[in-house]
Amino acid sequence: MSKWILNGLLTRVKTTAYPRRPDHTPGISPGLPEASTEFLFPEAAGAAAAVCPSGALKADATRLKTDQQRCIHCMRCAWGATAVPWDKGYQWGRWTRNGSARKPAQPFGHSVHIRVVDGGGCDACLLEVQQLTNPYYNMHRLGFFLTPSPRHADVLLVVGPVTRHMRRPLLKTYEAMPEPRWVVAAGSCALTGGPFGPSFATLGGVADVLPVDIEVPGCPPPPLAILHALLLLTGRAEQADMQDPKALSGVIR
């Protein structure tokens, strides 16, 4: 027993300084293509857009615009001949139109309890949610907890596209939650259905089933992006301007 205690103490504090200070440790985020990139020739922008298999990149004359919701991190535009610049930030949480109309009037006074539903994801998003409880991110220090009951939940965190089979369990979980309740959709599948939907077996994104308040792009969104979404919900972080690379990885509180 004592050796475990000693082992724990010797490991010392590993927890990220975020949200007090920005975290720039390499490898915490795969990044996203920058919101807009200027090319010298329209052909170059067109070629970059043609590389994208998910329709996230759109060329408009010499300008290449990114629909970050649709990006599935195939890295083809970053590594191809066209080399679209990627921003390594992680403050990706955003209020949806539905969510901005019903932001919490005042910041949460107490801890926030989260119910996680796997709508049919590939497990990578879910693993990133699990990472939030590891000592590096330790979301408990910020008052966020995963709850074993929907009755105690304030937030429904959904990952993955919603499959036909998971629609009913998802709706039942939502209905079992007391008001006020918020829905966070994390990962490009949860936003648009990703490579799976909509199709005969998946219904598309979470918004096709439930009103979504906050969305987090990414395939998968790194733990800090999900954490940012939760901080955004509780009024402890601001929404980053997606055009501004500094804001995406910095702290704007």
Binding site: P26, M75, V117, Q130, H165, F200
Partner: protein, 531 residues
Amino acid sequence: MPAPASDPPAGRTMEEDVARLWGPVVQVSHSPGRVDIFMDDPEALPSLCRWLSHERQYHLGTLVTEEEADTWRLHYLFWGGAPSWVRVLVEVPLDNSVIPSISDGVHAADWHERETEDLFGLHFSGHPQLGDFILHEEWPEGTNPMRRSFDWRGEPVGEEKEPRWQPKRVVRATGAFTMPVGPVFSGAAQASHFLLETIGEDVLRTVPRLFYKYRGVEKLAEGRTADQVVLLAERFTGTSAVAHAWAFCRAVEEIAGLEIPPRAEVLRVVFAELERFRHHLSAIAGIVHSTGMTVASSQADLLVEEALRSAGAMVGHRYLFGQIVPGGMYRDWREEQISGLSHTVESLATRLTSLTRMLRFSSSFLDRLEEVGVVTGEQAHDFGLVGPVARACGLNADLRVELPYGAYRGLLHPEVHMEQEGDGYARLRVLIDEAHESARLIQDALHRLEPGPVRVDVPHASGQAIGWCEAPRGAAFHWVRLNEGRVQRYRLTTPSFTNWHGFHLAAERFAFQDFPIIMATFGLSTAEGDR
């Protein structure tokens, strides 16, 4: 019908034996590493398959169903003997969709047949339990989404029913009740549903109900190019993306008759072993979590996060998406990037050693794992189990050794680690040993990296082939038919699909609190199994 021989005399080849025993109803052809047996009469199918499995010790790889203009074509693919592959082909007219079931003799075919019945509407005569498998109550009776006539954008019509699902048989005794678990879990866990049949503290039986995450990947792939389908292959199960992308690409490359550059072959091994290392760390962390060891959980979690970070820092993506494409690797990596990765893996492996040393001397940990969730070697063979689960009960089934592919053919030699007990602790030890072996292989692969190109162009080809890969959870088979570079049929057999079939063996007669431990030591993914 000819009776199977009990003991084939030595020295006779496969073709001769099959011709001697089933001569009138089969046509046998031979190509390097493979024998094709075309059966005119499907009635002889069960005896031939039983003979392959029991007398010749073949494993069922996959069952592929193809719908042609006026026939059903079924490929039963067996692997693991000499020659490496045996393909049994059967054709029946489209309007007569009844095929004799082989699962009486080859139990591993059970779920393949149930899946085919559900998705294609084919009937397997003699199968004890067909219907209600992949498609749940949401689907009206008679919907067969894999049929050519079914539009993938389509919506099944029919009224939605409140699920009233019940297993066929339940335990009836005083005080007995069934306890449902899932599909939404208390922490962050994948969607799956289990009915635990209990009398008080003791669970007698577990009835899993899966396929909540059925996304129809095989259907979605149809009509798309190989470059698009590889995205699906790596994203349907994000925790073994490299392995599945590799298996798919190998099938495409074989159809096109391509040799990929040696540097790409070695790089593929580096990424596949890195993924196996990360996956095994994560599985070990899962096991430690399930036993409730707080400090040890944190220590294991640190290792997982550091493995993810090093992948993110060195090669861009934490889950290694986007590396493998048909024709090689999407891009090259510099030697120092790969060696940086290898150093991190080395240091994580050293820390894993000290963590396991502490765990091995913690009786509260061992008590929870030993003799929990036992699967015997015989059961594992019958159910055709694969991966670390099979190796923990003495079954040597590692495709890297049994059917060597890529740089494992000649250049790199993985050592297979096996245990005999088949309990939770044996599975943990296999995972730990394999993680170390992966770290060694990455190091070894580094020395084999020679300069050169990493990608060749893939011509638009037509044909069919099977690609395989030892994914972190076990054997993965991707069967592909291409038509002018577009996927016409994609059959995806994953280790989780194979092993979920045998999961109930481990989850029988145990104490209630051991359920999470049995789940964690099996380490299966429903994303990988449901597809």
